[in-house]
Protein backbone atom coordinates (compact mmCIF):
# COMPACT_ATOMS: atom_id res chain seq x y z
CA UNK A 1 0.00 0.00 0.00
CA UNK A 2 2.77 2.42 0.93
CA UNK A 3 4.54 1.60 -2.32
CA UNK A 4 1.39 2.42 -4.29
CA UNK A 5 0.75 5.67 -2.40
CA UNK A 6 4.39 6.66 -2.93
CA UNK A 7 4.03 5.98 -6.63
CA UNK A 8 0.94 8.18 -6.86
CA UNK A 9 2.65 10.98 -4.94
CA UNK A 10 5.69 10.74 -7.22
CA UNK A 11 3.49 10.92 -10.29
CA UNK A 12 1.87 14.09 -8.94
CA UNK A 13 4.94 15.92 -7.64
CA UNK A 14 7.29 14.99 -10.48
CA UNK A 15 4.95 16.54 -13.01
CA UNK A 16 5.45 20.28 -12.67
CA UNK A 17 2.60 21.04 -15.03
CA UNK A 18 0.12 18.99 -13.00
CA UNK A 19 1.22 20.67 -9.78
CA UNK A 20 0.85 24.14 -11.28
CA UNK A 21 -2.58 23.57 -12.75
CA UNK A 22 -3.87 21.99 -9.57
CA UNK A 23 -3.02 25.24 -7.74
CA UNK A 24 -4.58 27.34 -10.45
CA UNK A 25 -8.06 27.55 -9.00
CA UNK A 26 -7.15 28.80 -5.50
CA UNK A 27 -4.63 31.20 -7.02
CA UNK A 28 -7.28 32.43 -9.42
CA UNK A 29 -9.41 33.34 -6.42
CA UNK A 30 -6.62 35.68 -5.29
CA UNK A 31 -6.06 37.03 -8.76
CA UNK A 32 -9.73 37.81 -9.42
CA UNK A 33 -10.11 39.32 -5.97
CA UNK A 34 -7.17 41.65 -6.43
CA UNK A 35 -8.18 42.68 -9.92
CA UNK A 36 -11.95 42.90 -9.77
CA UNK A 37 -13.59 42.24 -6.46
CA UNK A 38 -11.52 43.78 -3.72
CA UNK A 39 -12.18 47.39 -4.65
CA UNK A 40 -15.96 47.31 -4.18
CA UNK A 41 -15.93 44.90 -1.31
CA UNK A 42 -13.42 46.92 0.69
CA UNK A 43 -15.48 50.04 0.06
CA UNK A 44 -18.63 48.29 1.34
CA UNK A 45 -16.85 47.10 4.44
CA UNK A 46 -15.39 50.35 5.71
CA UNK A 47 -11.96 49.51 4.39
CA UNK A 48 -11.45 46.53 6.66
CA UNK A 49 -8.83 45.19 4.29
CA UNK A 50 -7.26 42.74 6.73
CA UNK A 51 -10.60 41.27 7.67
CA UNK A 52 -11.52 40.80 4.02
CA UNK A 53 -8.13 39.28 3.19
CA UNK A 54 -8.70 36.77 5.96
CA UNK A 55 -12.19 36.09 4.66
CA UNK A 56 -10.81 35.54 1.19
CA UNK A 57 -8.15 33.18 2.48
CA UNK A 58 -10.83 31.10 4.17
CA UNK A 59 -12.59 30.53 0.84
CA UNK A 60 -9.35 29.87 -0.99
CA UNK A 61 -8.23 27.19 1.46
CA UNK A 62 -11.52 25.35 1.01
CA UNK A 63 -11.14 25.53 -2.78
CA UNK A 64 -7.52 24.38 -2.58
CA UNK A 65 -8.36 21.24 -0.63
CA UNK A 66 -10.87 20.19 -3.28
CA UNK A 67 -9.10 21.07 -6.49
CA UNK A 68 -5.61 19.86 -5.54
CA UNK A 69 -6.86 16.53 -4.21
CA UNK A 70 -8.99 16.05 -7.33
CA UNK A 71 -5.97 16.35 -9.59
CA UNK A 72 -4.36 13.33 -7.97
CA UNK A 73 -7.42 11.22 -8.71
CA UNK A 74 -6.66 11.87 -12.36
CA UNK A 75 -3.96 9.24 -11.94
CA UNK A 76 -6.70 6.68 -11.40
CA UNK A 77 -8.41 7.65 -14.63
CA UNK A 78 -5.12 7.60 -16.47
CA UNK A 79 -4.24 4.15 -15.09
CA UNK A 80 -7.62 2.81 -16.17
CA UNK A 81 -7.23 4.20 -19.67
CA UNK A 82 -3.71 2.81 -20.10
CA UNK A 83 -4.37 -0.65 -18.74
CA UNK A 84 -2.05 -0.12 -15.79
CA UNK A 85 -4.68 -1.24 -13.33
CA UNK A 86 -4.67 -4.65 -14.99
CA UNK A 87 -0.93 -4.89 -14.37
CA UNK A 88 -1.47 -4.20 -10.68
CA UNK A 89 -4.21 -6.86 -10.49
CA UNK A 90 -1.90 -9.45 -12.02
CA UNK A 91 0.64 -8.57 -9.34
CA UNK A 92 -1.87 -9.43 -6.64
CA UNK A 93 -3.05 -5.93 -5.77
CA UNK A 94 -6.76 -5.93 -5.00
CA UNK A 95 -9.06 -3.34 -6.53
CA UNK A 96 -9.90 -2.00 -3.09
CA UNK A 97 -6.22 -1.57 -2.18
CA UNK A 98 -5.53 0.18 -5.44
CA UNK A 99 -8.47 2.57 -5.09
CA UNK A 100 -7.53 3.29 -1.49
CA UNK A 101 -4.01 4.19 -2.60
CA UNK A 102 -5.42 6.85 -4.93
CA UNK A 103 -7.63 8.27 -2.17
CA UNK A 104 -4.83 8.32 0.40
CA UNK A 105 -2.42 10.01 -2.01
CA UNK A 106 -5.16 12.47 -2.92
CA UNK A 107 -5.63 13.31 0.77
CA UNK A 108 -1.91 13.77 1.37
CA UNK A 109 -1.54 16.07 -1.62
CA UNK A 110 -4.69 17.98 -0.67
CA UNK A 111 -3.31 18.64 2.80
CA UNK A 112 0.18 19.64 1.69
CA UNK A 113 -0.96 21.86 -1.15
CA UNK A 114 -3.59 23.60 0.98
CA UNK A 115 -0.81 24.48 3.43
CA UNK A 116 1.20 25.74 0.44
CA UNK A 117 -1.71 27.97 -0.61
CA UNK A 118 -1.92 29.28 2.95
CA UNK A 119 1.76 30.19 2.77
CA UNK A 120 1.38 31.84 -0.64
CA UNK A 121 -1.57 33.98 0.41
CA UNK A 122 -0.03 35.01 3.74
CA UNK A 123 3.23 35.94 2.00
CA UNK A 124 1.34 37.90 -0.66
CA UNK A 125 -0.62 39.88 1.88
CA UNK A 126 2.52 40.40 3.97
CA UNK A 127 4.25 41.90 0.96
CA UNK A 128 1.28 44.23 0.64
CA UNK A 129 1.86 45.29 4.22
CA UNK A 130 -0.96 43.27 5.74
CA UNK A 131 -0.47 40.88 8.66
CA UNK A 132 -3.25 38.43 7.86
CA UNK A 133 -2.11 35.46 9.81
CA UNK A 134 -0.40 34.76 13.09
CA UNK A 135 1.40 31.54 13.85
CA UNK A 136 -0.73 31.02 16.89
CA UNK A 137 -3.59 30.49 14.44
CA UNK A 138 -1.83 27.55 12.86
CA UNK A 139 -2.97 25.12 15.52
CA UNK A 140 -6.56 26.19 14.87
CA UNK A 141 -6.25 26.05 11.10
CA UNK A 142 -4.39 22.77 10.58
CA UNK A 143 -7.20 20.55 11.90
CA UNK A 144 -9.62 22.38 9.60
CA UNK A 145 -7.29 21.78 6.67
CA UNK A 146 -7.30 18.10 7.62
CA UNK A 147 -11.08 17.97 7.80
CA UNK A 148 -11.40 19.92 4.58
CA UNK A 149 -9.05 17.48 2.86
CA UNK A 150 -10.95 14.45 4.09
CA UNK A 151 -14.33 15.73 2.90
CA UNK A 152 -12.76 16.69 -0.43
CA UNK A 153 -11.40 13.17 -0.86
CA UNK A 154 -14.90 11.87 -0.15
CA UNK A 155 -16.44 14.14 -2.78
CA UNK A 156 -13.76 13.35 -5.34
CA UNK A 157 -14.15 9.63 -4.77
CA UNK A 158 -17.86 9.81 -5.56
CA UNK A 159 -17.33 12.00 -8.61
CA UNK A 160 -14.74 9.56 -9.92
CA UNK A 161 -17.20 6.68 -9.85
CA UNK A 162 -18.73 8.34 -12.87
CA UNK A 163 -15.55 9.29 -14.69
CA UNK A 164 -13.77 6.57 -16.64
CA UNK A 165 -11.90 8.25 -19.41
CA UNK A 166 -9.53 11.14 -19.78
CA UNK A 167 -12.01 13.23 -21.74
CA UNK A 168 -14.69 13.23 -19.08
CA UNK A 169 -12.08 13.69 -16.34
CA UNK A 170 -10.88 16.78 -18.09
CA UNK A 171 -14.43 18.12 -18.34
CA UNK A 172 -15.22 17.41 -14.71
CA UNK A 173 -11.93 18.94 -13.61
CA UNK A 174 -12.65 22.18 -15.47
CA UNK A 175 -16.19 22.35 -14.08
CA UNK A 176 -14.96 21.72 -10.56
CA UNK A 177 -12.26 24.35 -10.86
CA UNK A 178 -14.76 26.94 -12.04
CA UNK A 179 -17.63 26.04 -9.72
CA UNK A 180 -15.75 25.43 -6.49
CA UNK A 181 -14.86 29.08 -6.05
CA UNK A 182 -18.49 30.15 -6.46
CA UNK A 183 -19.93 27.37 -4.35
CA UNK A 184 -17.84 28.29 -1.32
CA UNK A 185 -18.61 31.97 -1.80
CA UNK A 186 -14.98 32.85 -2.47
CA UNK A 187 -15.64 35.33 -5.25
CA UNK A 188 -18.95 36.75 -4.15
CA UNK A 189 -19.92 36.64 -0.52
CA UNK A 190 -22.81 34.40 0.41
CA UNK A 191 -25.10 37.33 1.15
CA UNK A 192 -24.53 38.84 -2.30
CA UNK A 193 -25.87 35.91 -4.31
CA UNK A 194 -29.49 35.06 -5.14
CA UNK A 195 -31.55 32.96 -2.72
CA UNK A 196 -31.52 29.93 -5.04
CA UNK A 197 -27.72 29.91 -5.07
CA UNK A 198 -27.63 30.37 -1.33
CA UNK A 199 -29.84 27.37 -0.89
CA UNK A 200 -27.36 25.25 -2.84
CA UNK A 201 -24.28 26.70 -1.21
CA UNK A 202 -25.53 26.08 2.32
CA UNK A 203 -25.38 22.35 1.77
CA UNK A 204 -22.13 22.25 -0.15
CA UNK A 205 -19.45 20.72 2.11
CA UNK A 206 -16.84 23.13 0.77
CA UNK A 207 -18.93 26.05 1.94
CA UNK A 208 -19.18 24.54 5.40
CA UNK A 209 -15.43 24.05 5.65
CA UNK A 210 -14.89 27.57 4.27
CA UNK A 211 -17.01 28.90 7.13
CA UNK A 212 -14.83 27.02 9.61
CA UNK A 213 -11.72 28.52 8.02
CA UNK A 214 -13.19 32.01 8.04
CA UNK A 215 -14.13 31.76 11.69
CA UNK A 216 -10.65 30.61 12.58
CA UNK A 217 -8.85 33.20 10.46
CA UNK A 218 -10.84 36.40 10.94
CA UNK A 219 -9.48 38.15 13.98
CA UNK A 220 -11.76 41.20 13.83
CA UNK A 221 -14.98 41.11 15.81
CA UNK A 222 -17.85 40.72 13.33
CA UNK A 223 -21.59 41.00 14.06
CA UNK A 224 -23.93 38.11 13.27
CA UNK A 225 -25.52 39.66 10.20
CA UNK A 226 -22.13 40.34 8.64
CA UNK A 227 -21.02 36.85 9.59
CA UNK A 228 -23.91 35.36 7.69
CA UNK A 229 -23.34 37.71 4.75
CA UNK A 230 -19.70 36.70 4.45
CA UNK A 231 -20.35 32.98 4.89
CA UNK A 232 -18.70 32.85 8.28
CA UNK A 233 -21.76 31.36 9.83
CA UNK A 234 -24.18 28.90 8.28
CA UNK A 235 -27.90 28.71 8.93
CA UNK A 236 -29.91 25.58 8.18
CA UNK A 237 -33.54 26.59 8.49
CA UNK A 238 -33.58 28.87 11.49
CA UNK A 239 -30.69 27.16 13.20
CA UNK A 240 -27.25 28.71 13.11
CA UNK A 241 -24.79 25.84 13.04
CA UNK A 242 -22.02 25.94 15.61
CA UNK A 243 -18.46 25.11 14.59
CA UNK A 244 -18.86 21.80 16.44
CA UNK A 245 -22.04 21.05 14.46
CA UNK A 246 -20.31 21.85 11.20
CA UNK A 247 -17.25 19.77 12.05
CA UNK A 248 -19.38 16.78 12.96
CA UNK A 249 -21.51 17.13 9.84
CA UNK A 250 -18.40 17.23 7.67
CA UNK A 251 -16.87 14.28 9.46
CA UNK A 252 -20.01 12.20 9.11
CA UNK A 253 -20.40 13.16 5.46
CA UNK A 254 -16.77 12.17 4.82
CA UNK A 255 -17.22 8.76 6.38
CA UNK A 256 -20.40 8.11 4.40
CA UNK A 257 -18.94 9.28 1.10
CA UNK A 258 -15.70 7.33 1.50
CA UNK A 259 -17.62 4.22 2.56
CA UNK A 260 -19.84 4.47 -0.53
CA UNK A 261 -16.78 4.88 -2.74
CA UNK A 262 -15.08 1.84 -1.25
CA UNK A 263 -18.19 -0.32 -1.52
CA UNK A 264 -18.82 0.65 -5.14
CA UNK A 265 -15.19 0.05 -6.00
CA UNK A 266 -15.22 -3.54 -4.88
CA UNK A 267 -14.56 -5.94 -7.77
Amino acid sequence: MIALVERNLRLYFQNKSTVFWSLFSPLLVLGLYELFIQYNLVASFQHQTTMLNQWLLGGALSVAALTTSFTVLGIKVFDEAKGQRAAFFINGVSERKLNSSYLIASGIVGFIMTVVILAVYVTFFYLQGQMTFHFSNLMKVLPIILLSTVISVGINGIVLLFVHNEGSFSGVSTTLNVLSGFLVGAYMPFGAVPAVAQHIMKYWPGFLSASLFRNALVTTKVDLTTKEFLGMSVKWGNQVLSTTNISLILLLASVILIAITQLRNRE
Binding site: A3, A87, I90, G92
Partner: protein
Protein backbone atom coordinates in the same frame (compact mmCIF):
# COMPACT_ATOMS: atom_id res chain seq x y z
CA UNK B 1 4.63 -33.41 -15.86
CA UNK B 2 2.32 -30.77 -14.41
CA UNK B 3 -0.22 -28.98 -16.58
CA UNK B 4 0.45 -25.27 -16.71
CA UNK B 5 -2.67 -24.25 -18.60
CA UNK B 6 -5.85 -26.24 -19.05
CA UNK B 7 -8.74 -24.64 -20.90
CA UNK B 8 -12.04 -26.26 -21.89
CA UNK B 9 -14.56 -24.51 -24.07
CA UNK B 10 -13.06 -21.05 -23.61
CA UNK B 11 -15.54 -18.67 -25.21
CA UNK B 12 -16.08 -14.93 -25.34
CA UNK B 13 -19.12 -13.30 -26.84
CA UNK B 14 -19.86 -9.61 -27.23
CA UNK B 15 -23.57 -9.53 -28.01
CA UNK B 16 -23.96 -11.29 -31.36
CA UNK B 17 -20.25 -11.37 -32.06
CA UNK B 18 -18.16 -14.32 -30.87
CA UNK B 19 -14.55 -13.26 -30.43
CA UNK B 20 -13.27 -16.58 -29.04
CA UNK B 21 -15.05 -19.81 -29.86
CA UNK B 22 -14.74 -22.93 -27.76
CA UNK B 23 -10.94 -22.98 -27.37
CA UNK B 24 -9.42 -26.05 -25.71
CA UNK B 25 -5.85 -26.08 -24.42
CA UNK B 26 -3.71 -28.54 -22.54
CA UNK B 27 -0.25 -27.11 -21.99
CA UNK B 28 2.53 -28.80 -20.06
CA UNK B 29 4.75 -26.86 -17.72
CA UNK B 30 7.98 -25.59 -19.21
CA UNK B 31 6.73 -25.54 -22.79
CA UNK B 32 6.93 -22.66 -25.21
CA UNK B 33 3.54 -22.15 -26.83
CA UNK B 34 2.57 -19.77 -29.61
CA UNK B 35 -0.85 -18.52 -30.59
CA UNK B 36 -0.45 -17.53 -34.20
CA UNK B 37 -3.06 -15.54 -36.01
CA UNK B 38 -3.76 -12.29 -37.80
CA UNK B 39 -5.05 -9.12 -36.16
CA UNK B 40 -8.60 -9.61 -35.02
CA UNK B 41 -8.21 -13.38 -34.62
CA UNK B 42 -9.07 -13.21 -30.93
CA UNK B 43 -5.55 -13.70 -29.54
CA UNK B 44 -5.62 -10.77 -27.13
CA UNK B 45 -9.18 -11.60 -26.04
CA UNK B 46 -8.10 -15.18 -25.34
CA UNK B 47 -5.03 -14.11 -23.39
CA UNK B 48 -7.06 -11.59 -21.34
CA UNK B 49 -9.36 -14.40 -20.27
CA UNK B 50 -6.54 -16.85 -19.55
CA UNK B 51 -4.82 -14.25 -17.38
CA UNK B 52 -8.03 -13.52 -15.38
CA UNK B 53 -8.36 -9.96 -16.66
CA UNK B 54 -11.50 -10.55 -18.65
CA UNK B 55 -14.57 -12.62 -17.79
CA UNK B 56 -15.26 -15.72 -19.86
CA UNK B 57 -18.68 -16.03 -21.45
CA UNK B 58 -18.28 -19.79 -21.12
CA UNK B 59 -15.59 -22.32 -20.34
CA UNK B 60 -13.31 -23.45 -17.58
CA UNK B 61 -9.67 -22.56 -17.20
CA UNK B 62 -7.05 -23.83 -14.80
CA UNK B 63 -3.76 -22.01 -14.41
CA UNK B 64 -1.11 -23.99 -12.57
CA UNK B 65 -3.90 -26.19 -11.25
CA UNK B 66 -6.02 -23.29 -9.95
CA UNK B 67 -9.47 -22.50 -11.31
CA UNK B 68 -9.25 -18.90 -12.50
CA UNK B 69 -12.78 -18.08 -11.34
CA UNK B 70 -12.81 -19.80 -7.97
CA UNK B 71 -9.14 -19.42 -7.09
CA UNK B 72 -8.31 -16.18 -8.85
CA UNK B 73 -5.70 -15.03 -6.34
CA UNK B 74 -3.66 -18.24 -6.54
CA UNK B 75 -3.96 -18.31 -10.32
CA UNK B 76 -2.73 -14.72 -10.54
CA UNK B 77 0.28 -15.56 -8.38
CA UNK B 78 1.41 -17.97 -11.07
CA UNK B 79 0.94 -15.55 -13.92
CA UNK B 80 3.21 -12.92 -15.43
CA UNK B 81 1.93 -10.85 -18.32
CA UNK B 82 3.71 -8.65 -20.82
CA UNK B 83 0.94 -6.51 -22.24
CA UNK B 84 0.70 -5.48 -25.83
CA UNK B 85 1.02 -1.85 -24.78
CA UNK B 86 3.58 -0.93 -22.14
CA UNK B 87 2.05 -0.49 -18.69
CA UNK B 88 4.97 1.28 -17.11
CA UNK B 89 4.58 4.81 -15.75
CA UNK B 90 6.32 6.96 -18.35
CA UNK B 91 7.05 9.81 -15.93
CA UNK B 92 8.91 7.52 -13.55
CA UNK B 93 12.39 6.07 -14.09
CA UNK B 94 13.13 2.44 -14.89
CA UNK B 95 14.31 1.86 -11.34
CA UNK B 96 11.25 3.55 -9.81
CA UNK B 97 8.92 1.40 -11.91
CA UNK B 98 10.75 -1.83 -11.15
CA UNK B 99 11.17 -1.04 -7.46
CA UNK B 100 7.41 -0.54 -7.14
CA UNK B 101 6.73 -3.94 -8.69
CA UNK B 102 9.48 -5.51 -6.61
CA UNK B 103 7.77 -4.27 -3.47
CA UNK B 104 4.31 -5.35 -4.62
CA UNK B 105 5.41 -8.91 -5.41
CA UNK B 106 7.97 -9.16 -2.58
CA UNK B 107 10.90 -9.94 -4.86
CA UNK B 108 14.42 -9.73 -3.51
CA UNK B 109 16.90 -7.02 -4.49
CA UNK B 110 19.25 -9.70 -5.83
CA UNK B 111 16.64 -11.18 -8.11
CA UNK B 112 15.65 -7.79 -9.46
CA UNK B 113 19.30 -6.95 -10.14
CA UNK B 114 19.79 -10.31 -11.85
CA UNK B 115 16.84 -9.65 -14.16
CA UNK B 116 18.06 -6.13 -14.88
CA UNK B 117 21.44 -7.50 -15.89
CA UNK B 118 20.00 -10.36 -17.95
CA UNK B 119 18.05 -7.89 -20.04
CA UNK B 120 20.89 -5.36 -20.19
CA UNK B 121 19.03 -2.56 -18.42
CA UNK B 122 21.64 -1.55 -15.83
CA UNK B 123 22.73 1.59 -17.64
CA UNK B 124 19.14 2.77 -18.08
CA UNK B 125 18.14 2.67 -14.42
CA UNK B 126 17.73 6.40 -13.86
CA UNK B 127 16.19 7.22 -17.18
CA UNK B 128 12.49 8.03 -17.40
CA UNK B 129 10.60 5.27 -19.15
CA UNK B 130 9.03 7.79 -21.49
CA UNK B 131 12.49 8.62 -22.83
CA UNK B 132 13.41 5.03 -23.72
CA UNK B 133 13.32 3.54 -27.19
CA UNK B 134 10.63 0.96 -27.99
CA UNK B 135 13.06 -1.91 -27.59
CA UNK B 136 14.38 -0.67 -24.26
CA UNK B 137 10.88 -0.11 -22.93
CA UNK B 138 9.84 -3.60 -23.97
CA UNK B 139 12.76 -5.11 -22.08
CA UNK B 140 11.72 -3.21 -18.98
CA UNK B 141 8.15 -4.48 -19.51
CA UNK B 142 9.44 -8.04 -19.57
CA UNK B 143 11.61 -7.66 -16.47
CA UNK B 144 8.60 -6.06 -14.78
CA UNK B 145 6.53 -9.14 -15.57
CA UNK B 146 9.25 -11.54 -14.44
CA UNK B 147 9.81 -10.06 -10.99
CA UNK B 148 6.98 -12.11 -9.50
CA UNK B 149 8.73 -15.30 -10.72
CA UNK B 150 5.65 -16.42 -12.64
CA UNK B 151 5.17 -20.08 -13.46
CA UNK B 152 3.62 -19.00 -16.72
CA UNK B 153 4.70 -15.95 -18.64
CA UNK B 154 2.15 -14.64 -21.09
CA UNK B 155 3.36 -12.28 -23.78
CA UNK B 156 0.86 -10.48 -25.98
CA UNK B 157 2.55 -9.56 -29.25
CA UNK B 158 5.72 -8.65 -27.37
CA UNK B 159 8.14 -7.91 -30.16
CA UNK B 160 5.96 -6.10 -32.66
CA UNK B 161 7.96 -3.25 -34.22
CA UNK B 162 11.21 -4.18 -32.48
CA UNK B 163 14.59 -4.52 -34.18
CA UNK B 164 16.13 -7.92 -34.69
CA UNK B 165 18.84 -7.50 -32.04
CA UNK B 166 16.32 -6.68 -29.33
CA UNK B 167 14.13 -9.62 -30.40
CA UNK B 168 17.13 -11.99 -30.24
CA UNK B 169 18.16 -10.73 -26.82
CA UNK B 170 14.63 -11.19 -25.50
CA UNK B 171 14.23 -14.71 -26.85
CA UNK B 172 17.64 -15.84 -25.62
CA UNK B 173 16.99 -14.48 -22.14
CA UNK B 174 13.57 -16.14 -22.01
CA UNK B 175 15.00 -19.45 -23.21
CA UNK B 176 17.51 -19.31 -20.36
CA UNK B 177 14.73 -18.61 -17.84
CA UNK B 178 12.64 -21.46 -19.19
CA UNK B 179 15.54 -23.82 -18.63
CA UNK B 180 16.40 -22.47 -15.17
CA UNK B 181 12.89 -22.07 -13.74
CA UNK B 182 10.82 -24.47 -15.85
CA UNK B 183 8.74 -21.47 -16.79
CA UNK B 184 6.01 -21.90 -19.37
CA UNK B 185 5.94 -19.24 -22.04
CA UNK B 186 2.70 -18.45 -23.82
CA UNK B 187 3.05 -16.08 -26.68
CA UNK B 188 0.64 -14.49 -29.10
CA UNK B 189 2.17 -13.27 -32.27
CA UNK B 190 1.75 -12.69 -35.95
CA UNK B 191 5.50 -13.17 -36.56
CA UNK B 192 6.08 -16.56 -38.14
CA UNK B 193 9.75 -16.71 -37.10
CA UNK B 194 8.77 -16.45 -33.45
CA UNK B 195 6.07 -19.05 -33.73
CA UNK B 196 8.52 -21.36 -35.46
CA UNK B 197 10.74 -21.44 -32.36
CA UNK B 198 7.95 -22.68 -30.13
CA UNK B 199 7.23 -26.25 -29.01
CA UNK B 200 3.60 -26.04 -30.01
CA UNK B 201 1.71 -23.63 -32.23
CA UNK B 202 -2.01 -22.99 -32.11
CA UNK B 203 -3.29 -21.40 -35.28
CA UNK B 204 -6.13 -19.07 -34.47
CA UNK B 205 -8.45 -17.31 -36.84
CA UNK B 206 -11.81 -15.68 -36.12
CA UNK B 207 -11.70 -16.95 -32.56
CA UNK B 208 -11.26 -20.60 -33.44
CA UNK B 209 -8.28 -22.91 -33.24
CA UNK B 210 -7.84 -24.27 -36.74
CA UNK B 211 -4.82 -26.46 -36.14
CA UNK B 212 -2.16 -27.20 -33.60
CA UNK B 213 1.24 -28.81 -33.58
CA UNK B 214 4.91 -28.00 -33.90
CA UNK B 215 5.99 -25.93 -36.87
CA UNK B 216 7.39 -29.03 -38.56
CA UNK B 217 4.21 -31.04 -37.98
CA UNK B 218 2.00 -28.28 -39.34
CA UNK B 219 4.18 -27.73 -42.37
CA UNK B 220 4.24 -31.45 -43.03
CA UNK B 221 0.48 -31.74 -42.76
CA UNK B 222 -0.70 -28.62 -44.49
CA UNK B 223 1.90 -27.65 -47.06
CA UNK B 224 3.81 -29.01 -49.95
CA UNK B 225 7.31 -28.14 -51.00
CA UNK B 226 7.60 -26.60 -54.44
CA UNK B 227 10.25 -27.27 -57.05
CA UNK B 228 10.82 -25.27 -60.23
CA UNK B 229 13.33 -26.65 -62.69
CA UNK B 230 14.83 -24.30 -65.25
CA UNK B 231 17.07 -26.75 -67.11
CA UNK B 232 15.39 -27.63 -70.38
CA UNK B 233 16.64 -31.24 -70.49
CA UNK B 234 14.95 -32.28 -67.28
CA UNK B 235 12.30 -34.98 -67.55
CA UNK B 236 10.23 -35.40 -64.44
CA UNK B 237 9.39 -38.91 -63.17
CA UNK B 238 5.89 -39.97 -64.13
CA UNK B 239 4.52 -39.97 -60.59
CA UNK B 240 5.57 -36.40 -59.86
CA UNK B 241 2.60 -34.03 -59.56
CA UNK B 242 2.84 -30.79 -61.48
CA UNK B 243 0.96 -27.61 -60.71
CA UNK B 244 1.45 -24.85 -63.30
CA UNK B 245 5.27 -24.60 -63.57
CA UNK B 246 6.02 -26.23 -60.25
CA UNK B 247 6.32 -29.78 -58.97
CA UNK B 248 4.75 -30.62 -55.64
CA UNK B 249 7.38 -32.50 -53.67
CA UNK B 250 6.69 -34.87 -50.77
CA UNK B 251 9.98 -36.68 -50.63
CA UNK B 252 12.84 -34.18 -50.62
CA UNK B 253 15.57 -36.84 -50.64
CA UNK B 254 14.09 -38.56 -53.69
CA UNK B 255 13.85 -35.18 -55.42
CA UNK B 256 17.52 -34.42 -54.76
CA UNK B 257 18.55 -37.85 -56.07
CA UNK B 258 16.57 -37.24 -59.27
CA UNK B 259 18.05 -33.77 -59.76
CA UNK B 260 21.58 -35.12 -59.31
CA UNK B 261 20.87 -38.07 -61.59
CA UNK B 262 19.70 -35.78 -64.38
CA UNK B 263 22.54 -33.32 -63.72
CA UNK B 264 20.17 -30.41 -63.10
CA UNK B 265 21.98 -27.17 -62.28
CA UNK B 266 19.27 -24.58 -62.40
CA UNK B 267 16.35 -25.07 -60.08
CA UNK B 268 14.58 -23.41 -57.21
CA UNK B 269 13.18 -25.23 -54.24
CA UNK B 270 10.85 -23.71 -51.71
CA UNK B 271 9.79 -25.45 -48.52
CA UNK B 272 6.34 -24.92 -47.14
CA UNK B 273 6.24 -22.25 -44.46
CA UNK B 274 3.83 -21.45 -41.68
CA UNK B 275 2.40 -18.80 -43.94
CA UNK B 276 1.54 -21.56 -46.43
CA UNK B 277 -0.03 -23.49 -43.55
CA UNK B 278 -2.10 -20.46 -42.77
CA UNK B 279 -3.14 -19.91 -46.37
CA UNK B 280 -4.11 -23.58 -46.62
CA UNK B 281 -6.25 -23.34 -43.52
CA UNK B 282 -7.81 -19.93 -43.97
CA UNK B 283 -7.28 -18.86 -47.54
CA UNK B 284 -5.35 -15.76 -46.47
CA UNK B 285 -1.91 -14.73 -45.21
CA UNK B 286 -1.14 -14.14 -41.54
CA UNK B 287 -0.11 -10.56 -42.11
CA UNK B 288 -2.97 -9.56 -44.36
Amino acid sequence: MATAIRAKGLTKRFGDFTAVKDVNLEIEAGKFIAFLGPNGAGKSTAINMLTTLDKMTAGKVEINGFDIEKQKKQAREAIGLVFQKSVLSKELTVNQNLLLTQRLVHASDQYTQKMIETFQLKALGNRKVGKLSGGQRRRVDIVNALLSRPKILFLDEPTTALDIQTRSLIWEALAELRRDQEMTVFLTTHYLEEAEQSDQIYILDRGEILAQGSAAELEEQYTTNLLTVFDGHFIAPVHWVKQADQYLIDDTQAMLKELIKQKVNKFSYRQGTLDDVFVTLTGKEVRA
